[in-house]
Symmetry: C2
């Protein structure tokens, strides 16, 4: 960590303690209500796999299971390859703190080849980010200040009005101009606050249990996004007896679907 380093890189930084075991530390700049922003935890686990010398290819799929809140302080990440195939590789990772399992993860990496390609989904309609005021989250949510957020639809329900549709669409980019890469994209997929807030018109206890992200892009395409805004959209399908899902898409401004992401969320109320 140097004076010139970026807050996001600081937050996901880890040094190898022994082969397959890394040591990291929570970062106050990325704090959520309880523990760190889930997106930065997902990114830290993906980064830990990426740092492994035998890692091959780009991330294709990442699943992170949030087993228990991460406390402020140091943590250990273990990463081991479960299987290496000719074109892909399956990884398992785990974040422990004081000997307790806090987060588990699996990641698939693979090589890209030129094939028939098509984007069937369409991005949601949105005015350009330059025409929308940055609003973000209330001041108490520290991690949200790391992003420049411009809501197209479904901002936080600060007016306490319940909405019939759980959709949020926003332009978002790193507030400190860090160029987009796979780890930053993994974090971005979790910027959508719990959909139950919007439907109920209020904040309520809620937390992600499991998060899965599919990376639909490759390194060259990601590089072309640079520090520009991306367009994120998320919605829920069913709220039932203490749990709901939300599905998100992250689009480049030029219309490339960079990632799709899904999560299961616990809620009360």
């Amino acid at each position: 960590m140097t004076a010139a380093s970026h807050p996001f890189d600081d937050a996901i930084a880890a040094h190898t303690a022994e082969p397959g075991r890394l040591r990291g530390h929570t970062n106050p700049a990325w704090a959520n209500m309880v523990g760190p922003f889930g997106g930065v935890t997902a990114a830290a686990l993906l980064h830990a796999v990426h740092l492994q010398p035998e890692r091959a290819g780009d991330p294709l799929a990442l699943t992170v299971n949030f087993a228990a809140p991460i406390g402020d302080g140091a943590y250990d990440i273990t990463a081991r390859v479960a299987r290496t195939n000719r074109t892909n590789q399956h990884w398992l990772a785990q974040l422990d703190q004081d000997g307790e399992v806090k987060t588990t993860a699996s990641a698939v990496f693979g090589t890209h080849r030129d094939t028939w390609s098509d984007t069937e989904a369409v991005p949601p309609p949105a005015a350009p980010p330059e025409q929308i005021d940055p609003t973000g989250f209330p001041d108490g949510i520290e991690w949200a200040r790391r992003y420049d957020m411009r809501f197209v639809t479904g901002p936080l329900p600060l007016d306490n009005r319940a909405q019939p549709d759980s959709t949020t669409t926003l332009w978002v980019r790193d507030a400190a101009d860090r160029p987009l890469d796979f780890t930053a994209l993994a974090a971005l997929c979790d910027v959508f606050y719990p959909r139950a807030f919007l439907r109920r018109g209020t904040f309520l206890p809620a937390g992600t249990i499991s998060l899965t992200t599919y990376f639909h892009t490759d390194a060259a395409e990601l590089d072309s996004v640079g520090t520009d805004f991306v367009l994120g959209t998320a919605r829920a399908h069913r709220f039932h007896r203490g749990y709901f899902d939300q599905s998100a898409q992250v689009w480049s401004r030029s219309g490339q679907l960079l990632a799709s992401s899904h999560q299961l969320v616990y809620f009360k109320g």
Copy 2:
């Protein structure tokens, strides 16, 4: 396994070899082109967790990573709890064959509580299953004969015509009248053939890499489905350089969203 047992229960059966390690066997009735139907592998892993004496609650989320093809014959499943909380439990499971990792999985189980509930998604339009001829898959796909399938839209492209939309919607139920439970629902979430077939109008090499299912239902609601048809729908969002995603929903006839499921698929062509 008795003469009266059901083909699905035979396929997911496992006996405990030692605490946390179970022994199972592939079943020819559920064979796919290469190895078993992925849905039955997902169900076998979920079932292995379900059999653990310390398991608590209903399945909420399941992720299965298909690391390598499973050969015909015996396999071992290990299941261990990573974390038990007051209302949920995180499990890790792995399927090995001859000392090689074939499949890894994570599962979250939890208790249901009465909360505000709402189904925001809507089922696709469909005529009743009684008005649609059962067609299913070509004869070579053994596992597909275990289901009664009635396609509303997007049947297998046997006419070799590429379609502009990757959506398949079908009514499906167990052909041998096994009532629906969580394991059967986990398997059903994988009945959708690779979306690239429909877009390209042809069969091509493709295989699921990672599959995540969210169970939006509870045991009582599932029981009420019994042996009736459920309505499944699936579509892709992006096909890019060797990979695509597909997202599916499974609905009860009475309009309950039982599960949503997502997968990343490898393809050639």
